[in-house]
Every structure is written in C-alpha cells, then in structure tokens.
Amino acid sequence: MPNIYIDGKKVEAKDGQTIIEAAFQNGINIPHFCWHPELSVSGNCRMCLVEVGMPKKFADGSIERDENGHFVVGYFPKLQIACSTQISDNMHVKTVSENAVKAQESVSEFILINHPLDCPICDEAGQCKLQEYAFNHSRGESRFEETKNHNVKRVSWGPNVIFDGERCITCSRCIRFSNEVANQEVLTFAQRGDKVTIQLFEGTQLDNPYSMNVIDICPVGALTSKDFRFKSRVWDMSFNESICNSCGKGCNIKVGVRNNEVLRIEPRPNHYVNNHWMCDYGRLNPIDKINEKRVLSPMVKVNGKLSDTTWDNAISTAIEKLKKFKPSEVMFVGSAFATNEDNYLYSKFVKTVFKSHNLDSFVYINESFADKKLRVSDKTPNSTGMKEIYGNTNTHGVEISLLKEKIDHHNIKAIYIIDDNFASKTDFIPYLDKLELVIVHSSNHNAVTDRAHIVFALSNFAENEGTITNINKRVQHFAPALTTKENLRFMGMKMSRLDKFGANNDRWTNHDTRDTKAIWSVIQKIANSFNANWSFSSVKDVFEDLTHHIESFKGMTYNSLKEYQGLVLGKGTNPDKKVKNYESHYMKP
C-alpha cells in the first residue's frame, strides 16, 4: 500500500485512489464542490486545489534525502486538483499551505462573482456548501463591482424538481447523477464562459424515480423540491434518524420536522443499503399519511357508531370482548408494516397467552414498483423480520379464500388486526362486516377502521421507536421524529429550537400531540389481563427479550444496531465492516 504525506502527516492510501479520496478516508477534508464519492470525477469547480510534490531522485533512481534523512520534496510549480490527481508512493500534499489557501480563496471568489447575494431568500441557506465555504475558504469580501449576470429562474425540470440558474455553480453533479446513477440522460451543459448553465434536452424531463436526489447533492440552492420549497427554514426543523417504510429495502432516512409536523424526508447514507440515495416515492408518499387523516385517539363502537374514548376503556372493552371467544374463533392478522418488537410481542401473546394458531399476515407485492436500483417489489418494510419471528416460511401469507370460507361458516367470529389496511385486498374488506368483533390498531382512518368495533390509535413509524428487518435481512433501528403523548419524554430525540423553548402561549408550539400508542404497549396490557405477567417498560426491553428467544437476532442490541447502522440476521455479533460515510453538506447544529 502506498503511503502519502498530507500536510506532513503520513497516511495510508490505496492504489488508484485520488488525493481527495485518500484524505477523506483519513478524516482530512479538502474543500470541494463537484467531487462526490459515488459519481465520476469531473474536476470542473477547481475548489480542491492543493500543492503536490514528489521526493527528488538522483539520476540512478535513488531517493535524495537531507542530512536528517527526510525526503527532499520538489513541489510542482502549479497547483493540482485533489479530486482527479492519483496518488503515488511518497507523494507529498499540502492542503493548507499559503499557496493552496490562496488558490482556494481565489476560486471561491471566482465562483461568487456571478452568484447572487440571495441567501435570505434561498432555501438552501443554513445547509449550503457555498455558504459554508464562503465562511471558511474565502477572503470574506468581493472585489467584483460590475453587475452580476442574470439567468433563468424557477424552471421546472420535472414533476419534483425546480431549477434556479442564477444560483447554479455548474458543478455538474446533477448531470452526473442523472447519467450514472439514475440512468436518465436528459441534462447537459449549455452555453460557455460566464453564461454556462444546465439545461434539459429539448422535450425531455427529469422524471426518473430517483430525480430528487439531485436536490440533496446540489451543493447550492439551485435545485429545490416542488414539495418542500419555501415551507420552512432548515434551522427551525429537527432531523431524526429513521428508516423508510415504503418498501422492503429499508433506505436510511432523516425525517425533517417542524411544529410536530413532517415536512421533508431525505436520505441518510448507509453503504450497505442505499448508499446516498432514496427514491422519490419514499420521500413524498409518507408525508401525507403521517400528517393527515390520523386516528387521534382510541375509539369504541357504541350503538353502531365509533366514538372517541379513553385508553383504559378501549383496552378493557377489548379484553372483555376477546374473552368471549374460543382461541380458534379469533383470527389474528400480523403485519409486515409493524416493527420486529411489535410482531414479537403480538405473536408471543397469540401463541403462548391466547393459545391460538390463527396467526398470519397479508402480503403486499407490487412487481411494477421494483427496479434494479433500490426499489423492491415487497411493499412492506418488515416482511423478513416478521416471518423470522412468526417462524413461518410460507410466502403468500393469509389464504384469503380459506379465511372467507371460515368466516362464512362461523368458524372465525372475530379478527384482531395490527397495522394493516387491506389496501389492495378490497374484496376482503366487506367480510369484516360479517364478524362479531373487529379490533384494529390503525394510524389512519380507512375502510377497515370504519368497520371496526374497537380502534386503537397507532403511532406510525415517524412516532415510534423500534427495529425493522429489510429484504436483505438487515435489522435496522429507527427513532421517533414526532412526539406523541406516549413518547413525549423520549430520550435522545433531536428537537428544534422552537420545540425546546416553546411556551403555552406560542401559537407555533400549539400543535396537536396525538394520543397514539405503539402496538407492543397495548398488547402487553391485554396479555397481562390474561395473566401473562409481562413487565416490559420500553421497546428496548422487548427487543432484548426478542434477541434471547429468536435465534437469528442473538447478540443484537440497540446500541450495536445504531453503531453499525444495522446488523444482518444471524450475524448479531459479527457486524459488517464500518464504512466512513460521506455527507456533502447538511444542517450544522
């Protein structure tokens, strides 16, 4: 392995690496705009200029050394760009020398020549790479007195992305992402010199399923999301770490929240799952589901009408009614939307406390959703974990025709559903009317809750803590981003300034705090009325119990899951190698 010297420090590098890569792997940050570890090198922004030199050699090839035995380094007269200069053994690099700093500051000043003084009205402000570098790597003033160039503004690039030509610094990250990662070649440079800009090819649109990733990697505010544009300043928001719930891949995400309302979802790097990306569906689809049409408190049907009630009443009604049925008369529907912990406690209740064999779940496969990149056909986030916990190997889930038959013959008289709305099983929904008891845990109002006798208001993934197991058997931990009455005091939850300092008379803190609960806590109460004697005080306890009883989860803890960004089933004590995550620019706390 070649060694190189960065600012006098000896670092190890790999053959074929560029200077910026070797520096990044060793925790040295060289300023850059256009370089991105997942994209090809374009070398057009010139921000990464560094001084590069090699040890001098004698004519016979031996290395010249001074009287102390140090290398005698001859630096190249011109600076090199770190992102496309490949390393070689004993290369010397100066990233903070006088010359390098002067060059970086000059490039910064040059980029800012035609950049508008727009930060106050720019959505990127607060998490902008150019803003950051204007502080850290520039002279702090401009010598440019002429009028700035004007360019196109507010150009729609597709269903989700808007382009602002004035703010663009033509780094070409968006072009390279579309070509190389999303495989949609629609963007190109147009014009030259200070008129250079990015354009779509005539008659095309940036409408691939991954288009919104260009917004994240754009180092400036040139690309904004149609959905989020101007909705909030980033410094008013909190970003909590979560896992996408929209398909079985389990992309790592950050959930952006203000006033207890989800405004934006963005990817979080995880080398083993989603790299730096996520799909547009996963960003946009959950937001309405989380914020709207929510079941806000538990409900019980009285005289044919559902009405709000207290948790105690709802739970005791459920217990009382469940006790009227024989174990074989109740169908328990599990859910691949629910967490490992929820499914674990649920199955434990069904099998060891209620002693029923009727536990299975519905399967949601949509082949048209899948592609060769991130999206997979399994539309549930936790089918792998759920099957592992239930110990069932069938892949088709509940035999719907058999279940219908049993309902018709009154073999099944009651149904208990956790987190499932039977969305694509519309022909089954009318059968709920034939049952004597329908209990459902649901976060949204839907056709199932309409037919239920007891509805438990359910915290959804943005309000819950837990683990889910993705399609590649990776168990990943997610934390709540929203507060509910149940998790109001959740430790370690990131909160924005507004959340922390709001008082009762501030309108911006008077959001609703939903009275929803996680499944496991309700199941525990029900089970205890059947003499189960459980005393799990947090979801962490449930997980610990799970790891002791389900072989493949052995050795996992919440801490190790967080530390290694997920562990693979059966490899709880043998984690994948940690990889240094690259984040181009993000909100600094």
Partner: protein, 166 residues
C-alpha cells in the same frame, strides 16, 4: 459577631443626631420645588412623541399593498426571545420570489432589543415609536401581519435614523 466600632450612631455628629434640623432641610427642598415650573406630563391626554432613536414595538414596513419582507426568517432566527414566527410562500412575480403568508410577533415575548431590525436584509422590520401596548389576553398579544404593517411614510424618522447611525 456584633460590630461595635464605627457604627452609624458613632459616625453622626451632634446636629445630625438631633434629627430635627434634617427634617427642616428636607421640607425646605420640597417647598422650593413648589415654586419651580412643573414638568409633569398629563399622560394619556398629553402624549410623548419619541425621537427616531426610540425602540418601540417592531413593525413591518409596508409599501402600498406589499410589505418589503421576503420571509427569510432571519429575524425569527436572531430574536433572542423567540417572539417572531414567519411562514414563507412563493410569489407570482419572479424578482421577489417569496413573501410572508403569516407573520406574527408575540408581544409578550418581545424584549424590544431591535435585533430583528438589525438583521433584516430588506429593512422590512423596524422599531416604531409605538409604546402603548395593552392587551386583554395572551392571544391578543400575538400581532398578525395586518396589525404589524405600517406604511413607510409614517416611519421616516426611524429610517432616517438608521441611515445615519447604523
């Protein structure tokens, strides 16, 4: 420990200890004031007009139907008391790009520091001369955009002051 040295009583001279002459001196001062011109203001009948340097309640500068504010949220960020809430939205016209659909100042929180005025890139929020702030409820003390808007013509003193001394 009791202090017995250099007490108040020890420090007073004989006449001071007599007390009466001091009373007479005090009364003398009061009597003299009675014949000097008074500077009591008959507030609220008689109102005080502060100068441009006065920091009364912050207001939004309105030009015609529009306010100058671009809803950047910097005032809300800098406000040490977290009194300001701004919600931006997109304008139809391209040059301004955004405007506040909602702009509220909670006057129970505001401490009249003037930071919002100082940070505003558009000179859109400035301190006015208005010091008469009375509210009957906490809700009433949250002023909305309509209550905050003041035509630019009425704010000339402050704008002039800012131009000179900022």
């Amino acid at each position: 420990m009791n202090i017995t040295k250099n007490t108040e009583a020890e420090r007073l001279n004989f006449w001071e200890r007599m007390y009466l002459p001091e009373i007479a001196r005090g009364l003398g001062l009061t009597f003299r004031q009675m014949f000097k011109p008074s500077f009591v203001r008959q507030y609220p009948e008689e109102k005080w007009e502060p100068t441009g340097s006065y920091r009364g309640r912050p207001v939004l500068v309105a030009e015609g139907n529009d306010e100058r504010c671009v809803a950047c949220g910097l005032c809300a960020r800098v406000c040490p008391a977290l009194a300001i809430q701004v919600q931006a939205s997109e304008t139809l016209d391209l040059s301004k790009e955004r405007f506040p659909v909602l702009f509220e100042i909670n006057m129970l929180r505001c401490i009249y520091c003037g930071f919002c005025e100082e940070v505003c890139p558009e000179e859109a929020i400035i301190m006015s001369k208005d010091y008469e702030l009375v509210f009957k409820s906490q809700k009433e003390a949250i002023l909305g955009k309509e209550q905050l808007r003041v035509p630019v013509e009425q704010l000339q003193d402050r704008l002039e002051f800012l131009r000179q001394y900022r």
